[in-house]
Amino acid sequence: MLRLDKVSKIYRVGAFGGKALLAVNKVSFEVHKGQVVSLIGESGSGKSTIGKMILRLLKPSEGKITYNGEDIGGFEGEALKNYYRQVQGVFQDPFSSYNPIFKADRIFRVVHEEFFPQVSAAEWGERVEKALSSVGLNPAHVLNKYPHQLSGGQLQRFLIARALLLNISFLVADEIISMLDASTRIDVLNLLADLKAYGLSILFITHDLSLAYYISEQAVILYKGNVAEQGAVEKIFNNPLHPYTRMLMESVPRLDRKWEKGVRLVDRDVENLRTGCPYYQRCPVAEPRCALSQPPLVEVEQDHWVACVHYESGADVLKPPALAG
C-alpha cells in the first residue's frame, strides 16, 4: 500500500550549505493494508523526518515513496488533496497541533471547507459528532472549547477524529502518546488498535519499545537515519541481534526486570568518520572492519533483517556476541 524505496533525506547545513547532514539514509519498508508498522528510534534517528516525508511536508532527497503504486512526489493540486483524503498525520505535541487562539473544533471546520464544501452544515455537524463518539468522546463535553480547556488525551482523540472524517486509509502517528499521562495513553493506543481492525494502516513512530511491541506487527529500528534492524516484531523483540537493538532492550527501564549491571558504554573517537557502520562509535563489539564500510541489511531469518557485520553470513543468529564484560 505505502512503500518507501531507498529514501534518503540530506540537509545542507553550515555556511553556504557546505556540510551535508544525512538525516535519513536509504530506508526502505512497506506498510500493507490494515497493518501497523512501528518506526523505533531515539531523538535524531530520523524517524519523524520519515513521517514528514510520507505526509509530503518534506521532500526526499533521494529515493521514492509510492502510495498504491503511484509516486507521491508527483502529486500536485487536486491529486495532492486527494492523497490527503487518504493519508493523514497526528503529531506528538497535542497542544502545538492546535492554533491556540481558535477553538479546538475549528480543525473540523477546516476539513469541511477544504474537502467537503458540498456537504451541508447540518449534515457535517452530525458527521463530526459521529466521529467524536467513535473516538470515545462525548461531543457535548468537548465541542466549542479552546485547546487549553481540553486535556492532552482529548486533543489527540480530536485529531484522530479529524482523520476519520476524511475516511483515511493510512495514518502517520508520530509519538502521539508520549506527552500524554500514563492513565490515558493506553486508551489512545487501544483506539489506534481498534481502528486497525477496521482496515486502517498505521505508521506508529515511537521511542518506546513496549508500545511498539503492544500494537504493531512489523518494526523498523533506526539509528542516525539508518536501519539497524527490521522485520517481524516478535522476531526482533525475542531475538534482538543488532548491538544497538540489544542496547535498547537492555537500557529501557522495565517494570518486569532490573537493569543489568556492568554494561560498558563505549564512545570511540570517530571524528570525520564518513564510511563505516553508523553505530561504530558506540558499539561494544565493533571490529576494525566496521570502520571501513557500512554493513548491508541482510535477511538473517525469514522476515528479520539486520545491518551488522556479525550477521553478514546469517549463521550466527543463535549466538550473538556478548555485550558485557
Binding site: 514528514k52 505526509l55 509530503r56 511536508l57 495532492l80 488533496k81 490527503y84 493523514q88 498525520g89 503529531f91 506528538q92 505535541d93 502545538s96 497541533s97 492546535y98 492554533n99 491556540p100 487562539i101 481558535f102 480543525i107 477546516v110 476539513v111 477544504e114 474537502f115 479552546y146 485529531l159
Partner: protein
C-alpha cells in the same frame, strides 16, 4: 473567553498603556476638531502686527509673519497623524509582505529577501532624500509618507520574518497543510492571527518612527512645500529667529507635541508588551 477577560483586566490596570493612549487620544481629538475653532487658515497672514504673544484672539499667539499659531498647530497635528498613519502603515504593510514571505517560504526566497532587506537597511536615507529634493520643486505630504513608508520597513520585516519562522514549524501549520490549505490562507488564517499583538506593536513603533522621521525631514527643510506640519513650524520658527527673539509660543507647542506623541506611543508600546507578554506583567 477567559483569556479575553484576562487581557482586558491587565489592559485596564496598565498605567503605561492608559496614559499613553490618553495622550494620543487628546491630540487626535485636537487635530480632528481643532481647525473648526479658528477662522484663520494656517498660512494666512491673520495679524497685521506680526509676532504677537498668546491672547484671547490668537490663543497661541502669531508667528513672525502674523500667522495664527493655533491654526498652524492643529493643522500641523493633522499632518503629523496622517504621516504616522500612512507612512507607518505603509512601512508595516511592506514589512509584513516581505517578512511573511521570507519567513514562510524560507530557503532561497528567504536569502534573497534578506539580502534586499539588508541593502535597504544600510541605504543612507538622508542622502537619497537630498537627491530627490533637488529634483522636485513641489513636495507633497503624500510624497513624504511614501518615502518614509518605503524606507522604514526593513526592521519590521526582520522582526516579522523571525516570528513567522518560529510559527511555521509549529504542528498546527503542518496540520493546515495536510488539510490542503494554500500558503496564503495559512499565513492569513493560521500564522498572522497568532502574531496579532506583535503586529500591533510593530505598527505602533512604525507610527512613532514615521512621525519622528517626518519631523526631522521637515526641520532640515526637506519636508513638504505646500502644507504645514509640526516639523515645518519648528523649522520656520528657528529660521525666523523665534529663539533669539523669545517667541516661545511659536516653537514650544510643536516641539512639545511631537515629544509627547512619540513618547506616548512608546509608552503604549511598552504597556501593550506587558499585556501580551505574561512574563512582563507586574503582579
Amino acid at each position: 473567553m477567559k483569556k479575553r477577560s484576562e487581557v482586558l483586566y491587565f489592559t485596564l490596570r496598565n498605567k503605561k498603556l492608559l496614559i499613553g493612549s490618553g495622550i494620543i487620544l487628546i491630540f487626535l481629538i485636537l487635530a480632528l476638531i481643532g481647525p473648526s475653532f479658528t477662522q484663520y487658515k494656517p498660512l494666512d497672514y491673520a495679524s497685521p502686527r506680526g509676532a504677537e504673544p498668546p491672547s484671547a484672539k490668537f490663543w497661541m499667539g502669531t508667528t513672525f509673519f502674523g500667522q495664527d499659531v493655533f491654526s498652524q498647530f492643529v493643522n500641523g497635528l493633522r499632518a503629523t497623524f496622517v504621516v504616522g498613519l500612512l507612512g507607518g502603515g505603509l512601512g508595516t504593510l511592506v514589512g509584513m509582505l516581505i517578512g511573511f514571505t521570507a519567513g514562510y517560504r524560507g530557503g532561497i526566497v528567504d536569502e534573497i529577501l534578506n539580502a534586499f532587506t539588508n541593502i535597504v537597511l544600510v541605504i543612507p536615507t538622508l542622502a537619497v532624500l537630498l537627491i530627490i529634493a533637488a529634483y522636485l520643486q513641489v513636495r507633497s505630504l503624500m510624497m513624504e509618507c511614501l518615502f518614509i513608508g518605503l524606507t522604514a520597513w526593513p526592521w519590521a520585516a526582520r522582526a516579522i520574518r523571525a516570528q513567522t519562522f518560529s510559527l511555521r514549524t509549529r504542528d498546527f501549520v503542518d496540520l493546515a497543510k495536510l488539510s490542503g490549505m494554500k500558503p496564503l490562507r495559512i499565513i492569513r488564517d493560521e500564522i498572522a492571527p497568532n502574531m496579532m499583538s506583535y503586529l500591533v506593536l510593530v505598527f505602533i513603533l512604525q507610527f512613532g518612527g514615521a512621525i519622528l522621521t517626518a519631523a526631522t525631514l521637515d526641520f532640515i527643510g526637506l519636508g513638504p512645500t505646500n502644507t504645514i506640519s509640526l516639523g515645518l513650524m519648528m523649522q520656520y520658527a528657528v529660521l525666523w529667529g523665534a529663539l533669539p527673539f523669545g517667541m516661545w509660543w511659536w516653537f514650544v507647542p510643536p516641539g512639545l507635541a511631537i515629544t509627547a506623541i512619540v513618547g506616548a506611543l512608546y509608552s503604549m508600546n511598552v504597556g501593550l508588551d506587558e499585556i501580551f507578554n505574561p512574563k512582563l506583567r507586574e503582579i
